[in-house]
């Protein structure tokens, strides 16, 4: 078991290295900051020399990458070229909000999509099933930003109707717990609704497959109640694919958080990523991408560990 876990962690680390090299090279082959500085008449040669030395801009990409990795190993994530602040400080003040919003969305999605998926499978081809199918397909076809806009518009309509701003349209809040809940409600709902749509369809499909299997027929023949069959026999067997999709959707959620954070004015990592890419703040952008990759790898490693727990056969196969 120990070797198996180490193997999974090793795979994850390799993925992070590959992702970071790719991102570094992509940013490196983009507009060269040193060339841009040299072309800018507002910089004197002394300014260019100082900035070049400070950020090692005249070194080849692999040396710059190695220097960045050495810095990471020392806990030094580099300084932002734009704000001159340590990248680590900039990211760490943003990371908790992103984790909170995406984590809440993930939990809520799971809590709602699981029973919904079961209900859809059990009541397949009913009016309820068809109605939810229309709604979920519509949601899956809706761009995330449009859903966010509609939620904001709903908040605006409610404000005009009542004269009270029940749900603020943007910002993180911060004047107490309730204020934070009010401010985070719309972004969390926006991310959650998108996830529920996809996950509930997926669960429905998995449940239908399991409910049609031999052992369920046997259980039914033994006279077990439908509820017992669904919850004790069918549901655990849908766990493996569900774990997979939840782990994979960490990346989707993280990517979706960029748009959500921008639209809802949340100072999270997504909005920082957008700002740093726009401002060619290479180190900050790189650090954020690596953290995103790290989160994805951690989620997938946890998922693989859970496979082993849920179904010990996967351990022996691997």
């Amino acid at each position: 078991m120990g070797g198996w876990i180490l193997g999974r962690i090793g795979n994850g680390a390799s993925a992070i290295v590959v992702a970071s090299v790719l991102v570094f090279v992509l940013l490196w082959v983009g507009p060269n900051p040193l060339e841009q500085l040299k072309r800018n008449p507002e910089f004197s040669p002394a300014d260019i020399e100082r900035i070049t030395e400070q950020y090692g801009l005249d070194q080849p990409w692999h040396q710059q990458y190695a220097s960045w990795v050495r810095g990471l190993a020392r806990g030094d994530w580099g300084d932002s070229m734009v704000t001159k602040r340590p990248a680590k400080e900039m990211i760490m003040e943003r990371l908790p909000l992103t984790l909170l919003v995406t984590g809440l969305a993930q939990l809520l999605s799971l809590a709602i999509a699981t029973p919904l998926g079961i209900m859809l499978a059990v009541r397949r081809n009913s009016g309820f099933d068809h109605s939810v199918a229309v709604a979920t397909f519509a949601l899956m076809a809706t761009p995330g930003f449009l859903l966010a806009l509609l939620l904001q518009f709903g908040a605006l309509k409610a404000y005009h109707a009542t004269g009270h701003l029940v749900l603020p349209t943007a910002g993180p809040g911060g004047e107490g717990f309730l204020d934070a809940v009010r401010h985070l409600a719309l972004p969390v709902v926006s991310l959650t609704v998108m996830q529920i749509a996809g996950w509930s369809r997926f669960l429905r499909s998995e449940m239908l497959t399991v409910l049609a299997s031999e052992y369920v027929r046997v259980a039914r023949a033994k006279g077990l109640s439908s509820r017992t069959i669904q919850l004790r026999h069918a549901l655990p067997n849908t766990a493996l694919p569900v774990i997979t999709i939840v782990a994979m959707d960490v990346a989707t959620l993280f990517g979706g958080a960029v748009g959500t954070e921008v639209i809802f004015g949340l100072p999270g990592m997504g909005s920082l990523l957008l700002t740093s890419v726009n401002q060619r703040d290479v180190l900050v952008a790189l650090d954020i991408v690596v953290i995103g990759a790290l989160l994805l790898v951690v989620a997938n490693t946890v998922a693989e560990l859970l496979y082993g727990v849920v179904d010990p056969r996967t351990r022996s196969h691997s």
Binding site: P31, M81, T83, K84, T169, F264, L274
Partner: protein, 568 residues
């Protein structure tokens, strides 16, 4: 700073542009529909009631400043809108483009004897108000003016621009309340040095200015002082309790908060719900369409000192031929471009200057109206014949122009497409490329890889050395590579002329030559909107400055934010 700020705003838009544009369009439509039932007449100006102290104002802005230091260049710039409430300058440009003394007790001019020629140079004497002080109570004196010059000229600091300061050879302080600036040459644009943000000597001497004012500004001299910066969310300024003009009841507000919202649609929504009190941004759509989005807000449109124009490339064929430039000018229906794409209140501009510059302003480009016969004559004279393809050709090659513009302008593509259509009608093929600011400024302008560009020029200084002199000043200089020795000599003369009458005469004469030779063809003056809560008083947008330039005078009608007293 303003130009780089605009460029950076453009950069900010690059990644999320498509989504934001669509989002904005959808939200405008939704808002216009949704607010229909609660419409109230919008007003153009806030009139009236006696100023009451109290309340804060929340201003929504799209781009968060990278640092608070307006002088030091990183890759971004502090938004001057954020810094202005913390800073009083010696002199400010007023809304009527006239200088207003702020910390100076008088605006130095030749007429009042405070500007004097001295050999080849000149001296500018600035009388400093003895009451002027920093927010820590330390008096603001000539030493601060001298230290500001020393700081800006210090080679150790990565200062954005030293323009104007590098003509100064020294600053003398005969007494603490008199600063004498010695200029190496006669420098007629000296007032633009006096509008600079002052650096407090007692706070900054001995410090690394590259690292100062990055996270906060502990010592400042404006009506508000730095309070808190919550990164990604807001910067809050509070009332400067030791403000040196507090005996005039200033400032009237308790504080100003700048909220950062990257999505323009969210800014709109927050203004509609009273979560923020003000937005200020360039006007791209027609006023009527935007006004409908904010039926309950005060909506003010202000001209800016920025001209949107076409620049023709003089460095290579075909646009180095004046006949081709004129033929192009006679083929463009500029009136149609304005009417169809921008609508009211945009107006066709017949000058590279703006009416706010008073006597400097002339409109010599009004001669260029669509005239197919003139264009045909000029092209034939240049050796082109109209071919069966409908295009003019010379030696079998159609007359083809490379048109480049910025992809971040809301109407940039529409203008390019309509222009392309007009050119086609006139028999001239035009190929359009819209580029990101990095490519446009970093490559296209520097390598001169275009025939026509559509962009903007700041015209605060009517002499316009940067755009029409054979040896322009550093920066976005003379992109069209236009060079006329006579014009350059007139620019040199105008810059050395302290008598405004002489400058006005030279500038007006220059405008006529420029209209003849067509290095540029102006289209319109850019407009800025300020949209704010109806209870906010004494906001006076200024074409020469940011919307917060006179924030000390702002007040709420009864000392409370509209949103807090349920009037939003």
């Amino acid at each position: 700073v303003a130009n780089r700020g605009n460029a950076l705003k453009g950069i900010t838009a690059t990644v999320g542009r498509t989504a934001c544009a669509l989002a904005y369009a959808v939200a405008c439509a939704l808002l216009a529909a949704g607010c229909g039932s609660v419409q109230a007449p919008a007003t153009d100006t806030a009139e009236g009631a006696a100023p009451v102290r109290g309340g804060e104002v929340r201003v929504g802005i799209v781009q968060e400043p990278a640092t608070m230091n307006p002088y030091i260049l990183a890759s971004g710039v502090v938004d001057a809108t954020v810094f202005d409430p913390m800073s009083d300058a010696l002199v400010e440009w007023g809304p009527d483009s006239q200088p207003i003394p702020v910390i100076a007790t008088k605006v130095p001019t030749l007429a009042n004897g405070l500007v004097r020629r001295r050999g080849k140079g000149m001296d500018v004497t600035v009388p400093i108000n003895p009451k002027a002080a920093w927010n820590d109570g330390h008096p603001l004196t000539c030493a601060d003016v001298r230290f500001t010059w020393q700081t800006i000229m210090d080679e150790r600091w990565v200062v954005l621009s030293r323009a104007g300061w590098d003509v100064i050879t020294g600053v003398d302080c005969p007494d603490p309340h008199t600063a004498v600036l010695h200029f190496r040459t006669v420098y007629s644009d000296y007032l633009n040095v006096l509008v600079a943000i002052l650096v407090p000597e007692h706070d900054q001497r001995g410090k690394d200015f590259n690292s100062s004012w990055v996270e906060d500004v502990p010592v400042s001299n404006g009506p508000f002082e730095f309070d808190r910066w919550e990164h990604g969310t807001y910067i809050r300024l509070r009332r400067n309790e030791k403000y040196w003009r507090s005996d005039q009841g200033l400032p009237r507000l308790e504080g100003v908060e700048f909220r950062f919202l990257q999505d323009p649609n969210t800014l709109n929504l927050q203004l509609s719900t009273g979560e923020i009190d003000m937005i200020s941004r360039p006007l791209n759509a027609t006023v009527d369409r935007e006004r409908a989005t904010f039926p309950r807000s005060t909506y003010v449109v202000t001209p800016t000192m920025i001209v949107q124009l076409f620049t023709f490339n003089h460095s290579h064929a075909p646009m180095n031929d004046p006949r081709i430039r004129q033929a192009v000018a006679y083929s463009i229906d500029r009136e149609q471009l304005i009417d169809v794409i921008l609508g009211k209140p945009f107006r066709l501009l017949h000058s590279t200057l703006v009416p706010q510059l008073g006597d400097y302003f002339v409109a010599p480009f009004d001669r260029y109206r669509p005239d197919p016969d003139k264009a045909d004559g000029l092209l034939r004279e240049a050796g082109y014949q109209r071919a069966a393809s409908g295009y003019y050709e010379r030696r079998g090659e159609p007359l083809t122009l490379q048109y480049k513009g910025l992809a971040d302008k809301g109407t940039s593509l529409q203008i390019a497409q309509l222009l392309q259509h007009q050119m086609k009608q006139a028999g001239i093929r035009m190929q359009i490329t819209l580029e990101t600011p990095q490519v446009f400024f970093g490559q296209t302008l520097r390598s001169s890889a275009y025939d026509i560009i559509f962009w903007d020029q700041g015209v605060r200084n009517p002499v316009q050395r940067s755009f029409f002199h054979c040896e322009p000043s550093p920066g976005r200089g003379n992109a069209g590579r236009y060079c006329n020795k006579r014009v350059s000599a007139m620019i040199d003369q105008a810059e050395n002329a302290l008598d405004p009458r002489v400058r006005i005469r030279l500038v007006r004469e220059m405008q006529q030559i420029i209209a003849d030779e067509l290095p540029v063809l102006p289209l319109y003056q850019r407009l800025l909107t300020a949209i704010y809560a109806p209870g906010l008083r004494n906001v006076s947008p200024n074409p020469n400055s940011t919307v917060t330039w006179d924030v000390a005078n702002w007040s709420w009608v009864d000392g409370t934010r509209d949103a807090e007293r349920g009037a939003g």
